[in-house]
Every structure is written in C-alpha cells, then in structure tokens.
C-alpha cells in the first residue's frame, strides 16, 4: 500500500519532463518535421536553467531562459532542415549532439552543485484523501503541464492553427498550392518544440532533481521521441504513455526499497521496456497509424 501511494504521488512529476518534451515534438511532427535533437535541446535547457537558478535568478526566469535556449537551438535545426532542405534525421542528430556539448560546456563548473526545487501546491480537500491524496500534491510545473495537455489536444481538434499544422504535415504541396507558407509554419512548429524541450530540461534539472550532473537528461529526450511515435501522434495517448513511464520507474524504486531481489540494471531498464511494449502493442493497429500518422513526416519540402 505504501508502494502504491509512493507511485501515485510521484508519477506525475516523473512524467513531466517526458510529457513536456513529447508535446513539443508532437507539434513539430504533426507539421511534418522530425526533430531528433530533443535530447540535446533538453540538455541545453537543463544547463541554462540550472545556472540561472544557482545564481539566484529564480525559477520563472530559469524556465524562460531554458525555453528560449531550446527554441534558438531548434531554429538552427530549422535553418538546416527547412531552410536548406538538409536531411532531417542527420540535422536533428547533429543539433542534438551540439546541444549536449553546449550543456556539458556551460555546466562544467557546476558539477555536483545543488539548488532549491519548487514548493508543492496541493488541491484543498482532495490532497487529504487516503492512498490517492498524493496525486493532488504537486509542484506548479506539473500543474501547468497537466493544463498544457488538454490545451494542445484542443488546439489540434478545434482551432484553425491546429488544422493548419495537420494540413501542412499531411500534404505540404497542397497547403502550398492553396497559399499557405509551409516553411514558415513548420519553422514555428519546430521552435515551439524547442521551447517545450527547453522547459522539459529545466524541469529535470531545477525541480525534479535539483542537482547538476553532466548527462543528467539520461536518454529522456529519446523516450519522449518514442512516446510520440508509439502514442500514434495522439495527445492523450502521449500523456498516458508519459504517466506509465513515470509510474514504472517509481515502481522500480519502490521494489528496490522493498527488498525485491532483482539486478538493479533490470529494474532501471523496466520503464523503457514496459513503455515500449505497451505502446508498441497499442500502436500495432495499422488502421490507427494510417489515420493519425503524418504523411509527410521527415520529407523535405521545397516550395
């Protein structure tokens, strides 16, 4: 029972870095751009945010700085992949490596230093419930990313902006022929993805584990990418995928604490395995993939 409480109360915070990065990547991919640099964008955001908080800039400024850094670096990707029509896979990988390098460079003198995280806000009444009460005690960023999920879902479902992003991703030629600036729309989508990745990195480094260590993003960016694909480009599935990942990683910790005799490497790899298997099974429905998949994903478009 204690393990369940532990998982429920920590799951959303553990999921938040994935959720933020995956939502950003979702917007870019829906517009037809595959940005594989998420890991590096998160790393850069993490370093920028940590430095700002460490020097007393506060979390709001830290998130703004991290988001801006992520957006700027992703614009460099956009320049190569959309402006020069470079191969998106290669450009994304290159930008990812650049981001990780910059992160290591900026963070070099901050190794092993810590900062103060954020206080938690609880929902009055609900927070006192037995077992599930922990779900309603979260830091403000978790609450904001919980709000971002339906907001992005509704943007795709109901707004002209969402319609335009989907249109550009499905058939850029047709979008161009009816007069939409395909490249500009894609650049904006990519910049939004960079912004969200920067936020995700900032959350990981200054709220979730407010301690600087080089390489602290530890593959979270790649999982975020996998969540988008296995979530079949559907906002709510990506949310559940991120929650699942958070829950399973906490379950591993709970199991270790409870004295379960399993190699720690296996426990550490469980969240990756479980998430991929579950989402893999869900996304094996070809009909769903065909209906929600992005037809022009990764293909360069020349107007």
């Amino acid at each position: 029972m204690i393990a369940v409480e532990f998982i429920l109360s920590g799951m959303l915070a553990a999921a938040t870095p994935f959720l933020l990065a995956a939502l950003g990547e979702l917007v870019g991919e829906r517009a037809g751009v595959l940005n594989l640099g998420v890991e590096g964008l998160m790393a850069l955001g993490a370093a920028v945010a940590f430095i700002i908080v460490y020097h007393g800039g506060g979390h709001a400024l830290a998130f703004a700085g991290a988001g801006l850094a992520g957006a700027l670096l992703s614009l460099l990707f956009a320049f190569a992949a959309l402006g020069l029509q470079a191969n998106q896979v290669a450009a994304g990988l290159a930008i990812g490596i650049l981001g990780q390098g910059l992160s290591a460079l900026f963070g070099k003198t901050y190794e092993s230093l810590t900062v103060k995280g954020l206080p938690k806000l609880s929902v009055p009444g609900l927070a006192d419930l037995p077992v599930v009460g922990g779900l309603f005690v979260q830091d403000p960023v978790v609450w904001l990313s919980l709000a971002a999920t339906p907001a992005i879902w509704a943007t795709f479902a109901f707004t002209k902006t969402g319609l335009l992003l989907r249109a550009v991703g499905e058939n850029p030629k047709a979008a161009h022929s009816i007069g939409y600036p395909v490249i500009a729309i894609r650049v904006a989508a990519v910049a939004f993805g960079g912004l969200m990745s920067g936020f995700a990195g900032a959350y990981a480094a200054t709220v979730y584990t407010p301690l600087w260590a080089d390489g602290m993003i530890a593959g979270r960016g790649w999982i975020a990418l996998a969540l988008v694909v296995f979530g079949t480009w559907l906002t709510l599935r990506i949310f559940w995928g991120a929650c699942l990942f958070g829950a399973v990683s906490l379950a591993g910790l709970a199991a270790q604490a409870g004295g379960v005799e399993l190699p720690s490497q296996l426990l550490a790899s469980m969240p990756y395995l479980v998430t991929i298997v579950v989402l893999g099974v869900i996304s094996s429905n070809r009909r769903l993939l065909k209906l929600n998949g992005v037809a022009s994903l990764g293909e360069p478009f020349k107007p």
């Binding site: 319609l163 989907r166 499905e170 009816i178």
Partner: protein, 502 residues
C-alpha cells in the same frame, strides 16, 4: 469581344533546359468558357500555375481587368478572384470537407456549412460537409474543390483536366455546373486534351503545342480534325485495326475473387469474376479507387491469397492465387504497373539495369552475376524496336519523358514473350504519339494470340483496342460487354453503379 478579364502578354517559363511556355499570349473574356487545348507536355499545367501564382513567369506580363498583375502566391491570386481546381486535388485526406474548406475560407463553421449546402443546391454540387475526404469518391472530391473555390467568389475559375476523373454521366453534370457559373458571371479556363468536350462547352479555345500558342479559335466553328491538327500538327491517329480472330485457350480466370485490404482507405473486392482467352484484349473500365489498385496487385501477385483460396486466380489453367510475382512470371505472365517510376522502373538506375528487373531470365544473369554486356544488348534492342527516344542504354530512367519511359517498360515486358500480358493505365500521362504506338503494339500482340488485360480510366482507349469490356465499380466487376455492341453511356451506367437497371 468585351474588354478581357485576363490578358497574358509574352509569358515565358523555363525549367532548366525545358521551355515549358514560350511567349504565350491569351485573352480571356468575361463570362466565357475558354479552353486551353494541348496534349500531355504541351505546357498547359505550367501556364495555369503561372496564372494562379504557384509559379512566377520568367518574362512577360499579365493584365487583370486591364491592370498589371503580379502574383506572389496562390493566396494573392485568390484575393484577386482567381480560383483553381487542380487535376490532382489539393485536398487533405485525413480532414473533413468542412475542415478543408475552413483552411481557405474565413468564417464561422455553421455559416460555412450553410453556404456549402446553398452552393450545392444552386450548382448541383451536393456533398456532405462532415464527411472525411478519404471516404469520398473522386467525383465528390472534385465537387469539394469546386465548392472551395466558389466560396471565395472567384471571377475566374481554372479547371485542370477536370473530366479525366469522371464517368460520362458526371461529365454532363459538371458541364451543367460550369454553364450555370458562366451565366452567373464567372469565366472558366478549361484545360483539356479531349477535343469533343471542348467543342461541346467552350466558346473560345487557345491551342498550345510544345509550349507555344498555335491558334486561337472558336471551337464550335471547327471540327475535331482541325483542332487535332493545331494540337499535334496532324490528324488524330486512327485506332489500330483488329483482325477478327477466334479466341483460344483460357489464360486468366478470376473466380469469385473476394478480398478485403488491410488499408482502411482501400476498396474491398466482392466476388470478382472474369475470363480472358488467348488472342483477345479485355478492358477493365472504371475510375481509380474502385478497386483497381487491389485487383491489379492480386493479379500481379504483389498480394497473395491464402493457400485455400488459390483457385480464385488461375493463370494458364493453374491456380496461382498463393504464388508471388516471380512465380507467376515464370508461367508466362508479364505486367506493366500503373506507376512508371517506383514500380515499373527505378528512377535512379540506367535503362540497362532497369531491364534486369524483369528480363533477368533471358540470359542477363550468369552464375548469379549480372551479365552487363547482355543486359546492354537487350536494352539496345528494346530501345530500337520500341522507338524509345533516349541517349542510350546508360540513360537514367528518370531522365526519360513519361511517354518514352512507358514505351521502354512496355517494350521490356513484351520482349519476355508473355502468354498473358497485363497493363494498368498503360497510357496515363503519355503523349499522343507514344500512346498510339503502345496501343498499336498491344493490338499486334493480340493478333499474334497473346491474352491481354488492360485496366484504364480512358474509355476511348478501351473502345479503340478491346474486344470486350468489364467495369469495376465499388469493388464489383460488371458482366462482360462486347465492345462492338456497347456505347460509352452503357459503360458510364456501370461506373456509377446503376448498370443492371439499364
């Protein structure tokens, strides 16, 4: 003629070495249905892209109601009142009709839906605003495109080959819509290569040949021969003569072929039956999307049936439903797929290497190694025998025009000396010269006793070469119709699924 709505003066556009348009002059009058007539590759589509702002001309001037017109984008063209319906529609398949329209037309969804319904009744363009585009037939998609244009209140509507995707009955309906639009004050630029259509509906015609204007005429005052001479420099070629022949053994038989594709956008086939014998050409008429792709892949072997259903497809008297393409080819089957670049040939490879793809059993491979000399020799023969205009066997497939590449692919398959020859859309996007050459070769092959199956959207083509025609509509195949005793309207009735009642 009243002051022109749109004038082009000396418009030129080139792509690399190709001069798509050279010094084109056109005047489009208000309230006119103006034809742009020319064969494939004459530069019609390029010209329309220039008028609609998709491309910008290299030189020349456009005047819109007497004022110089410079268009930076299609959006700018739409603001001036120019709308365009593309040949390959610019619709988004995963979105609904209303979503597609909202992308172009501002306004509240509810008001837009009311307007869609209103235009639908006024111009005979009924369509369900909430349907997903991928569920619609091609004719319905065209209606959506036209409605989308009309909702921006255009003064000029450009239609690129609008009838090529419609059954004959729907063509009449489209013409009725266009006439109503003209009477409502809209001018129409109507692009086509079909002479009779232009004579039926257009009051002006500009004829393009190899990028240049070769005539401005009133099409109602000229017969098809005159128009053809202006378009291709000579009369339309006569259909190839078919010698009467006694059909031989059955080479292909489909018995109760039923198949449901995995693809949610695919068309299931229901109880398809046909019999094709040596020495005859059987045509499958119908609009693409009615099961053509599925039927073609089931015959070629790209889709295999489960072993217990293998009898549903029989070639040379053997059940082959469970066999793959290579095994079917070994029995004497040859196949020309509908997409030249991708399935018929590999674009980045030389013609000699493309020969290897299907002709490898003819000694082009020895001990598992490519016999390049033989492959080149084979390719040279194919180029010479089938009049493929190219620099030689080393030319890349992507460097050939559509017509020449198609002649090469058809030639390659014919050199395999098939007993059963299957072609899907053999003359799609091919110039008249190459199309005629291909049709003549097919008839000659038939006269030699080969069994030939042709899937085509071009009804005229099927009437020219086929002994019998069957119509594929909504995944069902009509009974066999003798070409001699059938009129295009009969085919059309089956195309819209009302065959039996006729």
């Amino acid at each position: 003629m009243a002051a022109p709505l749109l004038s082009l003066r000396g418009i030129s556009k080139r792509y690399g070495e190709v001069r798509a348009n050279q010094a084109v002059d056109i005047d489009v009058a208000p309230r006119s249905i103006h034809a742009i007539l020319g064969e494939n590759g004459a530069g019609k589509s390029t010209l329309m892209k220039l008028i609609y702002g998709v491309e910008t001309p290299d030189s020349g001037e456009m005047l819109w109601q007497g004022v110089p017109l410079k268009l930076a984008s299609p959006a700018a063209a739409r603001r001036r009142g120019i709308g365009m319906v593309f040949q390959h529609f610019s619709l988004f398949e995963t979105l609904t009709v209303i979503e597609n329209i909202r992308l172009v037309v501002p306004g509240q969804t509810r008001a837009l839906i009311a307007r869609i319904r209103e235009l639908g009744t006024e111009f005979g363009l009924e369509v369900d605003p909430h349907a997903h585009v991928h569920e619609l037939s091609v004719g319905e998609r065209q209606r959506v495109e036209i409605i989308r244009c009309l909702m921006t209140d255009p003064k000029l509507l450009i239609l690129d080959e609008p009838t090529s995707v419609l059954p004959p009955q729907s063509v009449d309906k489209l013409f009725d819509t266009l006439l109503r639009l003209r009477d409502g004050g809209v001018s129409v630029l109507f692009i086509s290569h079909k002479l009779e259509e232009i004579r039926a509906i257009c009051d002006r015609a500009t004829i393009l040949s190899a990028g240049k204007v070769t005539g401005h005429v009133d099409p109602r005052e000229h017969d098809a021969h005159d128009l053809a001479r202006m378009m291709i420099g000579r009369d339309m070629p006569e259909p190839p003569p078919r010698t009467p022949s006694e059909p031989g053994e059955t080479m292909l038989e489909l018995i109760g072929l039923t198949y449901t594709p995995d693809d949610p956008f695919g068309m299931p086939l229901k109880d398809v039956a046909l019999t094709l014998r040596a020495g005859e050409i059987l045509g499958i008429a119908g609009i693409s999307g009615n099961g053509q792709a599925e039927l073609s892949e089931l015959i070629s072997g790209e889709i295999r049936l489960p072993f217990e259903n293998r009898e549903q497809v029989q070639m040379m008297g053997e059940p082959v439903g469970h066999l793959g393409p290579a095994e079917r080819r070994q029995l004497g089957f040859a196949f020309v797929p509908e997409d030249r670049l991708g399935r018929g040939a590999v674009q980045g490879m030389s013609l000699a290497r493309n020969s290897l793809l299907t002709a490898h059993p003819l000694g082009l491979v020895r001990h598992g190694l490519i016999a390049m000399a033989q492959a080149t020799e084979f390719t040279r023969r194919c180029i010479a025998d089938h009049d493929v205009r190219t620099s030689g066997a080393e030319a890349e497939a992507s460097g050939l025009s559509g017509g020449n590449l198609q002649k090469f692919i058809v030639g390659r398959e014919m050199m395999l000396a098939p007993k059963l020859f299957f072609l899907a859309q053999p003359t799609w996007g091919v110039d008249i010269g190459a199309a005629t050459a291909i049709r003549q070769k097919l008839v000659a092959l038939r006269n030699e006793g080969v069994a030939i199956l042709v899937i085509s959207e071009e009804i005229d083509e099927l009437f020219d070469i086929c002994d019998r025609i069957q119509v594929l509509s909504q995944g069902r195949l009509s009974p066999s119709l003798e070409t001699r005793e059938t009129r295009p309207e009969d085919i059309g009735r089956y195309m819209i699924g009302a065959g039996a009642a006729a």
